[in-house]
């Protein structure tokens, strides 16, 4: 995988992960172009498209688009399930994850992704093992604060 982008229906970038060296300028250009392309597609269309010499695999979850760029020989369907597994991991960690969780805890979203994918390849597919690694880190946390949150991807009504 060359990169993964998460962006909202309004085109706001929520997470970006690059597995190939690119300049900041190039990254911004790619992001702009892809956000535009993907948002212009209709709901029933296929989840794959060719873009430059890469394949784009994307899927929408509630208000967020998850979009991956893979290389020619990579498998589209398994990439779609990479996205899904990542969503499941977020969901399990945050409990009914919603876009706000990713905005306010972006660093966690990055940590979870690093446990799951490294260098653009799947590192660990077991949900249990990934979350174990993250939760170990949380146990090491020195300060705790309990604020509840109850917005889920499905139930979230607020317009971002």
């Amino acid at each position: 995988m060359q990169f993964m982008l998460l962006f909202s229906r309004q085109g706001k970038l929520r997470l970006q992960k690059w597995y190939v060296p690119l300049s900041d300028k190039e990254k911004k250009k790619i992001t702009r172009e892809l956000v535009q392309t993907v948002l212009a597609r209709k709901p029933k269309m296929c989840s794959f498209l060719e873009w430059r010499d890469l394949k784009i695999v994307y899927k929408r979850y509630a208000s967020l688009y998850f979009c991956c760029a893979i290389e020619d020989q990579d498998n589209e369907l398994i990439t779609l399930e990479i996205i899904h597994r990542y969503v499941e991991l977020l969901d399990k960690y945050f409990g009914s994850v919603c876009e706000l969780d990713i905005i306010f805890n972006f660093e966690k979203a990055y940590f979870i992704l690093d446990e799951f994918l490294l260098g653009g390849e799947v590192q660990e597919t077991s949900k249990k093992n990934v979350l174990k690694a993250i939760e170990q880190a949380d146990l090491l946390q020195e300060k705790t604060e309990h604020v509840s949150h109850s917005k889920s991807f499905v139930g979230c009504k607020k317009a971002y």
């Binding site: 794959f48 020619d72 369907l77 398994i78 260098g119 390849e121 590192q123 597919t125 690694a133």
Partner: protein, 978 residues
Amino acid sequence: MPAVSKGDGMRGLAVFISDIRNCKSKEAEIKRINKELANIRSKFKGDKALDGYSKKKYVCKLLFIFLLGHDIDFGHMEAVNLLSSNKYTEKQIGYLFISVLVNSNSELIRLINNAIKNDLASRNPTFMCLALHCIANVGSREMGEAFAADIPRILVAGDSMDSVKQSAALCLLRLYKASPDLVPMGEWTARVVHLLNDQHMGVVTAAVSLITCLCKKNPDDFKTCISLAVSRLSRIVSSASTDLQDYTYYFVPAPWLSVKLLRLLQCYPPPEDAAVKGRLVECLETVLNKAQEPPKSKKVQHSNAKNAILFETISLIIHYDSEPNLLVRACNQLGQFLQHRETNLRYLALESMCTLASSEFSHEAVKTHIDTVINALKTERDVSVRQRAADLLYAMCDRSNAKQIVSEMLRYLETADYAIREEIVLKVAILAEKYAVDYSWYVDTILNLIRIAGDYVSEEVWYRVLQIVTNRDDVQGYAAKTVFEALQAPACHENMVKVGGYILGEFGNLIAGDPRSSPPVQFSLLHSKFHLCSVATRALLLSTYIKFINLFPETKATIQGVLRAGSQLRNADVELQQRAVEYLTLSSVASTDVLATVLEEMPPFPERESSILAKLKRKKGPGAGSALDDGRREPSSHDINGGVEPTPSTVSTPSPSADLLGLRAAPPPAAPPAPSGAGNLLVDVFSDGPAAQPSLGPTPEEAFLSELEPPAPESPMALLADPAPAADPGPEDIGPPIPEADELLNKFVCRNNGVLFENQLLQIGVKSEFRQNLGRMYLFYGNKTSVQFQNFSPTVVHPGDLQTQLAVQTKRVASQVDGGAQVQQVLNIECLRDFLTPPLLSVRFRYGGAPQSLTLKLPVTINKFFQPTEMAAQDFFQRWKQLSLPQQEAQKIFKANHPMDAEVTKAKLLGFGSALLDNVDPNPENFVGAGIIQTKALQVGCLLRLEPNAQAQMYRLTLRTSKEPVSRHLCELLAQQF
């Protein structure tokens, strides 16, 4: 209201994020950010030492600001401090900041190396993983230099935790991809293969990715992975859906690992060991069988995971291309998907069938789906799916269905999406040419293309129709008649005027007998379009007119009148003006004989790769021409294309100075500036035929060679006298050539131009031209980064005795190369006597303060000084016999590494430098060549013979020369090319 998740309580961060989200305008957001930046700056600068928590919070805020798209120019030191914290979360945020921001600040890397080293050595698995993630996320060359040697050790150490092994494997993979030369192969590689047997599925999952990448470069070292991968795969495929616990995904056992294992197997040919192969075939059959079973769940995740494995299995079956039974089953399975209700599956089935279409075992099976595919082209609602359908039609096209497919594609073109029109045009043009049985159909098809989608018909397409018409006299009359009719349409596309103008100028006489298309009628028809056309087209029409004067003397007065008109003679466009003046004078001064000679009909174009095909490949990347590449199709006598050379590298990196037609196999380096801008279209069309340069200036080739002043007579001395070599390091100072140096050199044995080397920092391009024993080479060094290279110094080094054999004069280049800039270096080369080793090119520079050095082999091999020699069969045999001493002959029998295609072979032999002699060898399949190697001291006559054996996929190559080492060396060089 901010949502803060479990554990982490950075309240200040949450407040800041909420503030940003509440900003009503971009300006308000920027204001809020600037306020925060000022605050953070003052905290960092303040006298009071910040505690770890505050540092973490502020660094995190900076990261958030950066991710919003703003520049961050401070805070790096604080992040580096966090790395050395003992508190996990502080360390973690430090690493995250570094991973995300380091691209824009490579100076940082040296600062963090120490912290990373400590964490790697800490034996604390959580810390080790953080460090490995960081190295992988940054993945730069500097990281490779610092850590590539340590990571293999961590990966195979007996006491490493599973999670550390996983991270180490993928971290190493990332470093290897970025700079393969930095990862030393060694004893660890054998142990990595055995990770496929690891008990921990996660370790296997990570290791397979690494092995897949490594084995592509070193297939033999990793061969043992085949049987291990097969047995692992077999265990997964045959396990029940619950056996693998958490590695089962929606009732599918280990889908990610299965897909990766199947990808790994695609790096190798089918297993040789019968038992292993049997086991693998069983696996593949099991996957195909499971596809027919009812789903275990209605969830799309279940079917996606299952089908991901199925598609990868089909890819492997296609890759092996040896099991007819499996190929046909795969095709049937994909046939079912073609009508599936899931768009994704239809898309993938179309895509996958494209590759199946090129296998001889399944081509016919694919063809049975033609109606479904045509229907998809007409009814799919998603343009990307329609595009796949068009690709598949293109791939399944052969002589039996070409007319149907071409007409369907033409029909589709009328309503096709703008985005894919040009590609469809190219495909139609290629198919029409490839499968034309009668060329009138071909001409009709191309003219239809211009009529339906004139704007999308690129130059390559209409140049090509002109070439074909010029080369085939059986279609010229028909073409003239058809374009004449097409031009009568009230509104016809400008491309039609171009094609019409050119064809009538050449072959208008073939229809002049009919009073309805008499010369004056032809002329006034063309001239009625003149004023509506662009300068380029008008320039072309002027040439048509002067050709008319020769073809039809009766039109002379009228045409001279047109040329003489003030609107031509005083045209603001220089090209038009010049043509009008020159043509007018030519027509009045020259006698009829001279006119007839100058304006003679164009000679046939040499046959070579279709420029359209090259264009399609450029558009689609290598492999796009696969439908035409494969050797399965019968070699067709109608095939004007000739073969298609499978050299994606030439195609994907077209040199900027390549001529528009893309016809010249080796574009002349440093071609002089084109004589005129848009106006020289005509020259471009003609630039292939030597007799066809209407402008009197030098041809590009001559211009190049005339620029090639020979080096000073005492070249070996000149080398010392040259200012540049003063800085030459001795051979002992430069590093050994990079591992790929030989492979890179081999790419240039049969060609003179291309990209010699490329990594993430630097690209080196080469253009060269050789004549007799002299050569000139241009090296282009491109800085791919945004940072200036300093102390940039490329030098040429002669190892061993080479100095007495080859003189290379280099010019000094600027010692700074700006980011994104390119510098050029000129090398004058003189071959003094025969030589066996190429000179070395050593490139050194400083990038971001770090010294970089790189040694390559300069693509100068002895065959560059070949002069082709034509000779009759008798002479050849006589000389062949003269060179019959055993030491004069070198012979090699070797396996074909590329598809065996006669046209490609021909092109390579010509590129190698020898002449190709027809009618010498009694077996027409064989190739015979002759040439002389020119050196200053002596000439070496060379004869060669190449005998392909298509059944065995082998070649026998024999070389005879008057010097023993030359025979052997040429034989070795050439044998690598097939």
